[in-house]
């Protein structure tokens, strides 16, 4: 009997040793460099969680590159980011797609890691009400963000230490100034979609939502106009409410680049319109030294681009009196908006509102949360990514409205963003 049990024990031990004798590989060594070109790609075709990669390169990429390398960060929520100086922030946690603010760390050897994460104070509320982590940064020590836990307040955080406890700006009374007792308004919030700073003023959209399920506050405006609260950041006091007339769906969390500042300081704000496939979409402006919507200027999708509201603006990049936009070439439907090559680049003259097609960059998929146009080393780079496989950034030549391929990406997914930093 003992012998029989001994044989059994030896067999089990041997098997256990075989399966547990795994060793960790050492990470591949990187090259130390202070300057990093950081690329994010999205590969979410069959995941639904915005899976993808972030890599840091020592030099401006050229040719065909992989974005899934030894130092890359793999994870979720790779749909976009916002940058502040040499810092990169993401609104989705790499580990599990939770919404909040995640700082991306870039090491001198090029290793990319997910850093600290500011969560909603109420994780369940953040999962129910989309938008937690929509943020804007004022300076190294102060930023503002929206938290579903307290939807009518704007929270403060320290973007360096990634901590909160700085208090909040309460806009509950401001939100209740309109729509009192209106049953059709299911949800109110301040700063859920737009938080922008210009001239020491904070601009926070006021949401009056009709939906009480699925993306509450997005594409479900109760009022035909959209409202923006203006807050003086000198003492963080509410100043007034301004509005953009006859439109809807102002911006869409800040990873989607739906507002931008022109070289002269003018702020351009995208409104996607009545639904997720458009209608009454427009771009409004607040001039550099103003705090009201410029009543003399707007770029209307139907009036200025085509004759019908069959699409929408999905982003804006402003420089030297020109806007770079991507606009749909076919009427939007639920099936082509994100999966067809229908988004074409145009340069729009702010003064004349003339649309000029930019050639050389392919008509591609929806840049959505991606950075459709970025400026790195003084070059404006345009995102070109198609279903067929064209995938890279194209250098824009404003003199002849053409673009030429700067680099392409062959592994890791669709390009979503590109940024240059100095490692701190």
């Amino acid at each position: 009997m003992k012998m029989q049990f001994s044989r059994a024990a030896i067999a089990l031990f041997t098997a256990a040793a075989l399966f547990t004798a795994c060793t960790k590989d050492d990470p591949a060594p990187g090259q130390d460099s202070e300057t990093k070109y950081v690329l994010i790609t999205l590969s979410d075709r069959v995941t639904g969680t915005k899976a993808g990669f972030i890599s840091a390169f020592d030099e401006m990429p050229t040719g065909a590159i992989s974005n899934a390398t030894a130092g890359s960060l793999e994870g979720q929520g790779m749909g976009g980011w916002r940058t502040y100086g040499n810092n990169i922030y993401k609104m989705f946690r790499t580990e599990d797609y939770a919404t909040g603010i995640e700082k991306i760390n870039i090491a001198a050897d090029g290793t990319v890691t997910a850093g600290q994460f500011i969560s909603s104070k109420d994780q369940a509320a953040a999962a129910k009400y989309f938008g937690t982590g929509n943020f804007v940064i004022k300076d190294d020590d102060t930023g503002y963000y929206w938290d579903a836990a307290e939807p009518t307040k704007i929270q403060k955080f320290n973007p360096s230490s990634m901590t909160v406890s700085l208090g909040s700006i309460d806009l509950t009374e401001v939100l209740n100034e309109r729509g009192t007792g209106e049953d059709g308004i299911k949800f109110r919030s301040a700063g859920q979609k737009l938080l922008a700073i210009k001239g020491n003023k904070l601009y926070a959209n006021l949401t009056y939502a009709k939906n009480d399920a699925s993306q509450i506050g997005f594409f479900d405006d109760f009022f035909p106009d959209v409202y923006i609260a203006v807050i003086d950041l000198q003492n963080e006091t509410y100043e007034k409410t301004i509005s953009i007339k006859n439109t809807g769906s102002i911006t869409y969390i800040n990873e989607n680049h739906m507002y931008d500042y022109d070289t002269n300081g003018d702020l351009y704000i995208v409104c996607q319109g009545r639904s997720s496939i458009g209608g009454q979409s427009k771009i409004a402006r607040i001039k550099a030294n103003e705090t009201d919507i410029d009543a003399t200027w707007e770029l209307d999708y139907a009036a200025d681009y085509t004759d019908d509201y069959n699409g929408k603006f999905v982003g804006v990049f402003a420089k030297d009196g020109k806007l770079i936009l991507t606009v749909n070439t076919e009427p939007l439907t639920g099936s082509n908006i994100n999966s067809a090559n229908i988004w074409k680049f145009y340069a729009v003259d702010v003064a004349t509102k003339d649309f000029t097609e930019i050639t050389g960059v392919p008509v591609g998929t929806n840049p959505g949360a991606a950075m459709a146009a970025v400026e790195v080393d003084g070059k404006v780079l345009l995102r070109g990514s198609t279903v067929g496989g064209e995938n890279g950034y194209y250098e824009y030549n404003p003199s002849n409205q053409t673009a030429t391929l700067a680099f392409s990406v062959n592994a890791g997914g669709a390009v979503s963003g590109f940024h240059k930093i100095e490692v701190q």
Binding site: Q4, S43, A124, A149, N410, A411
Partner: protein, 788 residues
């Protein structure tokens, strides 16, 4: 070689007529309860009692054909001469086919036959471990090539992976009927093993008789077979306030009428500790270990049946009514990112069914029909949210999830299955099977989705789904039955009717979309036996997996409908070798698969996703299973499975880099080892003690695709880690469980104790959902068999 041994002992001489008594045991001398003993049609058959004994009183002297059967053992037949003296027999049944001196054994056990048929099946012998506090999912996880993934504790959903096929590619049956007719009230995740004879797992070709559209895997739950009258009761109590009770009763009259009742009740708080992250004062997430507080599960299933058997007009006519009710608390969404504290799910149903079987000479018919009325609801109406500690924060909005709900959805399902068999000769037979499945969905949800621009509930519009699967097989035996060939052909058809609408799409509410699709499949399986120890088999099949109702209709939430889906098609090939001796059983199986047009969930328009025919998968793999018997007191078993399923035919597009990457969220190596003891006369004569130890290992795998050249190095990728820092990885997992099972000598009672996850290891399944830590289980079984 093992044995069926008959020891005939004449005790003392007596006048005529006399009494013939005896006892039936297994090879180890353990008494077998419920064995059927017959000595010809003129004498009433007997069933062994709790001591394994039987008796024929007032038996005239003469020649009799003694026939002893017991499920799981070889049939024993012997011609005996009874001379009127009181005679005591001891009959030892074998689990293996053999011929012994003085006894004639015909056929093999059903389990053995299934294991050795041309179409390979892994047989999970539930009957053999029915007394243990073990779930069916745990048992199946110990089999080669099979992974059961369960999202959490008792009662939560399971997904079976067979050779890398998973989800809807694997189908489930009960006694050959698609399990869906029982509406979720009876399945791998909830049925106690006491109610089952065995579970057959088909890897590769699926037999025509199952009538499914599985791509490469099917599981057939075979219900317990009853003889005579019996009562079976078991009760298990376990950690996390878990209670599992089972009651089964059966009575068979001399005239052939029978009546039976099967019931089980499962309850668990499932309040095991889980590692989560909670928010600190700086709004940073910090680790915390908390008991799950809203993870309970309650479920009962009742089925009563009656009928008649072995008459001139029927072999069996059986009418059955099943009813179940299932309530489940939902602790978190698909990932454990945030808690729920009030969201519940409910499912209940009534299912009458009728089955008729009759063999007319060479012709046999088996007809089944059922109607299922199933009500499902999801309740999420609380105005507020919970944190991981169970604290409630009120909010004005309805529901704690992104989708508030007060749904009531009715599903009506009719399944008709006809199986016809015809034996052409001793060596050739035909089998034809057709299944018609019609499903209708309609419901309400005051908080549910509305068609765009209207206040019309999406659920209020009827949706229809029906499918027909027909097949025919020809089995032929050659070379003195050493070569068996089975050629199969199948026909697949589905049609749907519903409204193809979701948010932001123009929807015509009067325009019902219809869709239909017809396809063919073909397969062949061959088995060759070398001597009595070696068996070779090979099979190849081109088959289809039809789109499922939920893939076509969507889920009334963020999954948009797609009525244009087409079936997945797969070419599967399998080759295997089996060796068996009295001490060692060894089996090696290999497979190849190429699946085209996989139906995958694809993000379309936020927040919607939609099932689409997308990628292809090519894979191959091998599994090895060894069982070694050391004397009669210890059995060792080990198996290992390695499979290499990879994305192919991605094309030249944006996702070309995925070409060649592993199938995501799917383990590619796992192994088991077990030691099972069998000790007799431990505390008293004829009692029995069965200690056992099980170890399970799963190699780390990745939730998302990573480039092939970044995969771990080492033999078959078994060692090291990925060369890119992978965030979404499920780490190596070890599960060790052990228990003892004690059978009283004089009472039909057994008790069992088991400790699961002894090391309290971190275990994950289904996108890193945590599974319970160490737990303790006690189970008591009572089994009574009454002579007719």
């Amino acid at each position: 070689m093992v044995t069926a041994l008959a020891i005939l002992m004449a005790v003392y001489v007596h006048g005529q007529p006399g009494t013939l008594t005896g006892m039936v045991t297994d090879e180890q001398g353990n008494v077998l309860v419920g064995a059927s003993v017959t000595i010809g049609g003129a004498v009433s058959p007997q069933i062994t009692d709790h001591a394994g004994r039987f008796a024929f009183a007032n038996l005239p002297s003469g020649n009799y054909t003694l026939r002893v059967t017991h499920v799981g053992y070889a049939e024993y037949i012997e011609t005996i001469r009874f001379d009127g003296r009181k005679t005591e027999l001891t009959i030892r049944l074998s689990a293996q086919a053999t011929i012994l001196e003085g006894a004639t054994v015909i056929g093999k056990t059903e389990t053995q036959q299934i294991r050795e048929q041309a179409i390979r099946a892994v047989v999970v012998d539930t009957r053999a471990v029915a007394e243990q506090p073990t779930t069916l999912a745990e048992l199946m996880n110990r089999a080669p090539g099979i992974r059961i993934r369960q999202s959490g504790g008792l009662g939560n959903a399971v997904d079976v992976s067979v050779n890398g096929f998973q989800g809807n590619s694997v189908q489930y049956f009960r006694d050959g009927i698609p399990l869906e007719y029982l509406g979720g009230g009876y399945g791998i995740n909830n049925v106690p093993i006491n109610l089952l004879e065995r579970a057959e797992v088909y890897k590769g070709v699926v037999p025509v008789s199952l009538g499914g559209d599985a791509l490469g895997g099917a599981i057939n739950l075979v219900t317990r077979q009853h003889i005579g009258s019996m009562l079976d009761i078991s009760y298990e109590v376990a950690s996390f306030n878990t209670h599992i009770a089972n009651l089964s009763a059966y009575h068979h009259t001399r005239s052939g009428w029978f009546v039976g009742f099967d019931a089980f009740y499962n309850y668990s708080d499932n309040d095991y500790n889980a590692d989560v992250e909670v928010v600190n004062e700086n709004a940073n997430l910090v680790p915390a270990t908390v008991p799950l507080f809203h993870n309970g599960y309650s479920h009962y299933f009742l089925e009563t049946y009656a009928g008649v058997s072995n008459t001139s007009w029927t072999d069996e006519l059986r009418f059955s009514v099943a009813h179940y009710n299932m309530d489940r608390e939902s602790q978190h969404p698909a990932l454990m990112t945030n808690p729920y504290g009030a969201l519940t799910m409910h499912n209940k149903g009534w299912i009458p069914s009728l089955r008729y079987r009759k063999a007319f000479g060479a012709f046999a018919v088996d007809q089944f029909i059922s109607y299922s009325a199933v009500d499902r609801s999801r309740i999420d109406t609380v105005r507020g949210t919970y944190n991981w500690y169970g604290d409630f924060t009120p909010h004005t909005g309805i529901g704690e999830s992104p989708r508030p709900s007060l749904s009531a959805v009715d599903f009506n399902n009719i399944i008709a299955r006809t199986n016809l068999g015809y034996r052409i000769s001793e060596s050739h037979s035909l089998n034809a099977n057709i299944i018609i499945n019609h499903n209708r969905r309609i419901g309400t949800d005051p908080y549910g989705l509305r068609f765009a621009g209207t206040d019309i509930d999406v659920l209020s519009k009827e949706a229809i789904y029906s499918k027909t699967i027909a097949g025919m097989s020809w089995e032929s035996k050659w070379l003195d039955e050493r070569l068996v060939n089975q050629l199969t052909a199948k026909f697949f058809r589905f049609n749907t009717r519903g409204i193809n609408g979701f948010m932001a799409n123009a929807t015509d509410l009067d325009d019902y979309t219809t869709s239909e699709n017809n396809n063919w499949g073909i397969g062949n399986a061959v088995k060759y036996t070398l001597g009595d120890r070696h068996l070779l088999r090979a099979s190849v099949e081109l088959t289809n997996r039809l789109p499922r109702e939920n893939e076509l209709f969507g889920d009334n939430d963020t999954r948009a409908p797609n009525f244009d889906l087409e079936p997945e098609r797969s070419l599967n090939a399998n080759f295997g070798y089996r060796y068996q001796s009295s001490q060692l059983t060894a089996e090696v199986g290999t497979f190849y698969r190429k699946t085209k047009g996989m139906i995958l969930l694809v993000p379309v328009q936020p927040p919607f996703a939609q099932y689409q025919n997308l990628d292809s998968i090519r894979g191959y793999g091998v599994d090895i299973d060894l069982t070694y018997q050391i004397g009669q007191v210890l059995q060792l078993n080990t198996n290992a499975t390695w499979q290499d399923n990879r994305m192919v035919d991605i094309g030249d597009g944006l996702y070309k880099w995925i070409e060649g990457t592993r199938l995501r969220n799917t383990p590619y190596f796992f192994a088991n080892a077990a030691a099972v003891g069998n000790l007799g006369s431990v505390l008293s004569t004829n009692d029995k003690l069965k200690p056992y130890l099980h170890w399970n290992f799963i190699r780390e795998f990745y939730l998302n695709h990573i480039p092939r050249d970044a995969e771990p190095d080492g033999f078959l990728g078994l060692f090291g880690q990925a060369k890119v820092p992978v965030t979404n990885v499920v780490p190596n997992q070890h599960l060790v469980s052990a228990g003892i099972n004690y059978f009283f000598a004089t009472q039909p009672i057994s008790v069992a104790f088991e400790m699961k996850n002894i090391a309290n290891s971190k275990l994950y399944d289904y996108y890193k959902i945590q599974r319970p830590g160490r737990s303790f289980h006690v189970k008591v079984n009572y089994h009574l068999t009454k002579k007719r």
